[in-house]
């Protein structure tokens, strides 16, 4: 039987992988993928904890919202990446350091 702990472990693993990708990858697309990993880890947690709310299934409902939101966010992020590429001719986040004073 798959217990809650298993879900949580998987979620934690997904989150760790996501964090790693966000921090370490040299490609903005991959960073975006890392963000999706993190989101999915969170959604997995929502769904897993949703079994304690059998009456309203609010976990599942919130997960749906989050998925939609993630999709929108990914679209926006991709658009930003496209614009960054136009601007800098690269999508390596290390090379984009305009924030430095």
């Amino acid at each position: 039987m798959i217990t809650l702990t298993n879900f949580l472990l998987i979620g934690a693993g997904l989150f760790a992988i996501g964090i790693y990708m966000v921090l370490a990858k040299r490609n903005a697309i991959q960073v975006l993928i890392g963000i999706e990993f993190i989101l999915n880890a969170a959604i997995l947690n929502l769904v897993a904890f949703g079994k304690y709310d059998k009456l309203y299934n609010s976990g599942q409902t919130f997960a749906l919202f989050a998925i939609v939101l993630a999709g929108a966010a990914a679209a926006v992020a991709l658009a930003i990446i496209l614009n960054v590429y136009k601007q800098y001719k690269t999508i390596d986040p290390n090379k984009v350091e305009k924030l430095k004073d």
Binding site: I19, L23, A24, P93, E97, K100, D101
Partner: protein
């Protein structure tokens, strides 16, 4: 007498003019006239002539008429108001006339004597300045001004004694004169200041005028009256060359002879006697006795020295010292008026003797240069037989010598006999040691006869010694031009009795004596007038004969090795004593002080210096390494911290994220485990 303002009294103005004209001309000679210009001599003479005429006018208006005093405020210091002014009384107008009267022939003589000298104009500038200083000295009414002119007289004589300053001896002589006078100056200044402390005024009229003697009379036994009297006496002793401060005068011969004439007659040495006369009321009986003893001893000592000297000018110098001794003695024994009469008569004949000596030395120098002889032009042993070649010099010289001896019908007879007679009256009624003074004076006047006869015989009589060296020489010397003769004839006439008294023998008839009050004429048991006159004249003839046998017929000779001869020849070893004892000790003290200064005081200073440098170095080290080090450390820390913090500001999104994550982790760990 009343004190008037300057602009109200024409006589005072004339007197001031008489003082200032020589000074003005001296300045003109010094700055405007071209050097060696003939103009300067005549200009100087003209100035002194005008001064002489003005003095004569002032004299006629003041002498026996009444004193004049005029002053204006000089400066105010606190409550003290010091006035500067002119005080004309019998003494000062007599001195005015005397100084200008002697300076005039000296100026005329100098025109010829200094001819061709490379500092001709400068000479006349100095001469004018000298006269100005002396004239100023005799008219001022204030002790401070008196002291100022006193110093100026000393300074002017310093300039003139060292006139030929390229000669080493002249430089030594003027330094000596200046330093010895300095001793007297210090005493005089102390005396002035003590008087000021006593009476709170510098005004000489208040202090010394006859009407104001009460202060001195009432306090006659007070130390604070005797002490300034002694101080003034020492001042006068230095200026008037009295023992033991006399040694500068013989050395002062290094100046031009005309200057010697002026110094010895009217200006420098007369200043001391004048000072005594001016402040006479101040002297207490003790000081007067001291004055008489010093004068008497100096007169005797100088006369004995003059016996054996060979330098013409040196003999005359010692003769002057001796005569000044007489004057001082006269002041001391109360023969005030005779002392001043002697000052006046001596001025004429001593000036004349020096001018004559100048001519003689001039001729000797001339012969020496002409024949290239290796002789001393001033040594009387080289002279002789000069009466044929230079009759004017000879005759005037004889007149002056007779006056010096005190021969009847000369002015010297009036003054010198007067002094000796009054000295006897002074001693009478006192204890017997007091008689030493007049007897010594009498002896001195006999010595005077000897040394002046020796001088005359050696210079004018006999055969010219110079002919032994130059066999074909015809006459020795000649009189020179009228510029030489005229002043000498004038002075010779002034050395005879009519100028001073119509009675050739009685000194109390002389107008100068009468002008200064009646001479002492107590009724003694013996008539000293007769005694003195007889002694001087009878022994005098014997002495002249003795000198004649010694120096002309040579039927006698003196052993030149006896103790007394050596004592006289070496001038009583006084200079030797000064050199060996005083100067040596002073120099030794000086070198010890110099050593102390160099090694101890300088050592302390150097120690301070080294310590300061050491402390400075330590401070510098602390500054450099501790204080600067601390600042540098701070700067480094701040810089490193800045750099460290800057490291976070990479501008990379991922780095920021990592920082955030780490921060959250840290906060989480802290929250959870602490």
């Amino acid at each position: 007498m009343q004190t008037t303002l300057l602009h109200t009294d024409p006589t005072i103005q004339l007197a001031l003019l008489a003082v200032l004209i020589p000074f003005a001309v001296a300045l003109v000679n010094l700055f405007l006239v071209k050097n060696q210009s003939k103009v300067s001599g005549w200009l100087g003479t003209l100035a002194i002539l005008i001064s002489f005429v003005l003095s004569a006018v002032v004299f006629s208006r003041v002498w026996n008429v009444g004193d004049l005093h005029s002053q204006w405020l000089w400066f105010t210091a606190g409550k003290l108001q010091v006035g500067a002014g002119v005080w004309l009384n019998n003494l000062s107008v007599l001195m005015l006339l005397l100084v200008t009267g002697i300076a005039l022939p000296v100026h005329i003589y100098s025109i010829a004597y200094m001819q061709g000298d490379e500092k001709y104009s400068r000479y006349f500038a100095y001469l004018g300045f000298f006269c100005f200083a002396m004239l100023g000295l005799v008219v001022v009414d204030n002790l401070l001004l008196l002291y100022m002119f006193w110093e100026l007289v000393g300074f002017a004589s310093y300039l003139l004694i060292g006139f030929w300053f390229t000669r080493e001896k002249a430089v030594q002589a003027n330094k000596k004169a200046f330093i010895m006078n300095r001793i007297g100056d210090v005493a005089l200044l102390s005396g002035i200041l003590i008087l000021y402390a006593d009476f709170h005024t510098f005004n000489m009229v208040t202090l010394f005028d006859n009407h104001a003697t009460a202060a001195f009379v009432n306090a006659a036994d007070s130390t604070w009256i005797t002490l300034p009297g002694i101080c003034f006496l020492i001042g006068a002793m230095a200026k008037s060359a009295q023992f033991p401060l006399h040694t500068w005068l013989p050395d002062a011969m290094e100046g031009p002879t005309s200057i010697s004439a002026l110094i010895h007659a009217a200006t420098m040495v007369a200043a001391g006697i004048f000072l005594l006369g001016r402040v006479y009321v101040m002297f207490s009986p003790d000081v007067l006795t001291l004055m008489a003893c010093i004068g008497c001893f100096t007169a005797f000592m100088a006369a004995t020295i003059a016996l054996t000297q060979n330098d013409l000018k040196r003999i005359l110098a010692y003769s002057t010292i001796s005569q000044l001794g007489f004057m001082m003695m006269a002041m001391g024994v109360g023969a005030y008026s005779s002392g001043l009469l002697h000052l006046a008569t001596h001025a004429f004949f001593k000036c004349l003797l020096f001018l004559a000596a100048g001519v003689i030395i001039h001729q000797m120098q001339h012969l020496k240069d002409e024949h290239q002889l290796d002789i001393d032009a001033q040594d009387i042993n080289n002279m002789g037989g000069m009466r044929k070649g230079m009759p004017v010099t000879f005759v005037t010289c004889v007149v002056a010598s007779l006056a010096l001896i005190g021969f009847p019908f000369t002015s010297g007879c009036l003054s010198k006999d007067g002094i000796m007679v009054q000295a006897f009256y002074w001693a009478e009624g006192k204890s017997w040691p007091h008689f030493i003074v007049p007897v010594t004076a009498l002896l001195t006047s006999l010595l005077t006869i000897f040394y002046i006869s020796r001088l005359l015989f050696k210079v004018f009589f006999g055969e010219a010694k110079i002919k032994e060296m130059v066999p074909n020489l015809k006459t020795v010397g000649h009189d020179g031009g009228w510029l030489f003769s005229l002043p000498m004839i004038f002075l010779a006439l002034c050395s005879l009795f009519p100028l001073f008294s119509f009675h050739p023998f009685d000194y109390s008839e002389a107008w100068i004596v009468q002008g200064f009050g009646i001479a002492v004429k107590a009724a003694g048991s013996i008539s000293y007038e007769t005694l003195v006159a007889l002694t001087v004249n009878i022994f005098g003839i014997a002495i002249v004969y003795l000198a004649y046998t010694l120096y002309i017929s040579r039927s006698r000779a003196i052993k030149q090795s006896g103790f007394l001869f050596k004592l006289s020849y070496h001038e009583w070893y006084i200079d030797w004593f000064y050199h060996r004892v005083i100067i040596k000790d002073v120099l030794r003290i000086g070198s010890v002080l110099s050593w102390v200064d160099r090694n101890i005081f300088d050592g302390i200073i150097h120690l301070f210096g080294s310590v300061s440098i050491f402390i400075g170095k330590i401070t510098a080290w602390i500054d450099k390494y501790l204080i600067d080090g601390f600042i540098n450390l701070l700067v480094t820390v701040v810089k490193q911290a800045g750099n460290f913090v800057r490291g976070f500001q990479t501008g990379r999104v991922q780095a920021y994220l990592l920082s955030m994550l780490l921060l959250i982790v840290v906060i989480y760990v802290l929250k959870t485990f602490m």
